[in-house]
């Protein structure tokens, strides 16, 4: 049971990661691919934060009478990664908008047909 | 002591209302009745729980922040419900009446 509780977080992280990966590979809709990428991204965030958690620890803000703090380093990395993540997602969405304007569709299959690339 | 009991009552009542609202949005047959269940219980549930927490906090910065949260939820939650119902009604979504067939999702 302890082993299960101790690794449950990581298993869910891996599950989310795989759902994200599967969405990216198997779905043809570009918006859905971006959502898949985002799910993948969030799963990585959880991996980092899970690794930084310390049993009985408090948030890493120095306070009176608190001895154990969780690891601040993953928090720093992920905090910036979230903001960078939304900026890069916006870039991907901008590309999707341009693709829609050029091809008139955001389905991968239809784009391939128009390009005769498959 | 009395304050503790009062805050417990508020917390429990808030939690119970939350569940009632949850069941409401789960069980009611059409959008408007679901929104009705959700919109009303949602605001009161939030108010009761925040009140319960506020009683625990006493006069402190935490109580002030709770009051702020309280105020925002008090204004935005009904506004959101209103805007939703308004938009749904203008979009032509009909309430389901007794005589109607089961609703058709869009």
């Amino acid at each position: 049971m302890d082993f299960f509780i101790g690794h449950y977080n990581y298993w869910i992280v891996i599950f989310l990661m795989m759902v994200g990966l599967y969405t990216v590979i198997s779905r043809g809709n570009l918006i859905k691919k971006i959502i898949g990428l985002n799910i993948f991204q969030v799963s990585v965030f959880f991996l980092y934060i899970s690794l930084g958690t310390v049993e009985g620890g408090a948030a890493p803000i120095i306070a009176e009478g608190v001895e154990v703090y969780s690891n601040p380093l993953p928090h720093v990395l992920i905090l910036t990664a979230i903001v960078v993540g939304v900026a890069t997602t916006a870039l991907a969405l901008a590309l999707v908008v341009r693709i829609k304007e050029s091809y008139g569709t955001i389905e991968e299959d239809e784009i391939h047909n128009l390009d005769h690339s498959l | 002591m009395i304050i503790d009991i009062l805050s417990w009552i508020c917390l429990l009542a808030g939690g119970a209302l939350g569940i009632v609202g949850g069941i409401g949005i789960h069980r009611f047959p059409d959008f408007y009745s679901r929104l009705h269940a959700a919109g009303i219980t949602d605001t009161l549930c939030a108010m009761l729980i925040l009140l319960g927490l506020g009683l625990q906090a006493g006069w402190s910065l935490a109580a002030f922040k709770l009051a702020l949260i309280f105020m925002f939820l008090f204004f935005t939650s009904p506004t959101a419900s209103h805007a939703l119902a308004n938009a749904a009604q203008h979009s032509g979504l009909q309430p389901r009446l007794d005589s109607d067939e089961p609703e058709v999702g869009s």
């Binding site: - | 549930c45 935490a62 959101a80």
Partner: protein, 94 residues
């Protein structure tokens, strides 16, 4: 008592999630997201007291403020895109 409130909020979140998954109309989903947002605010607020860290209330406050925006944005998209007010109304408006 905090635990009872936390559990109640979790149950409500589950029910709202079920409604968001089931739909069937777009408005149902928006309403479910709105309720989910309110419950997240409450969950974080109760957790702040449960763990004795008043700082966490700031996060609840952000959610209380910002959850409103996504609802407004979703409504905006729906009223001008998905249903009656799509193209005809726009040309009239201009």
């Amino acid at each position: 008592m905090f635990i009872a409130a936390l559990l109640a909020i979790l149950v409500t979140m589950g029910l709202a999630l079920a409604r968001a998954l089931a739909g069937p109309t777009t408005y149902d989903r928006i309403a479910a997201v709105n309720i989910f947002g309110t419950k997240t605010v409450l969950l974080i607020a109760v957790l702040a007291f449960f763990s004795g860290r008043g700082d966490l209330l700031d996060i609840a406050l952000v959610y209380a403020l910002i959850n409103f925006i996504s609802v407004v944005a979703a409504l905006k998209l729906v009223t001008r895109g998905d249903f009656h007010s799509s193209d005809s109304d726009e040309s009239e408006a201009n």
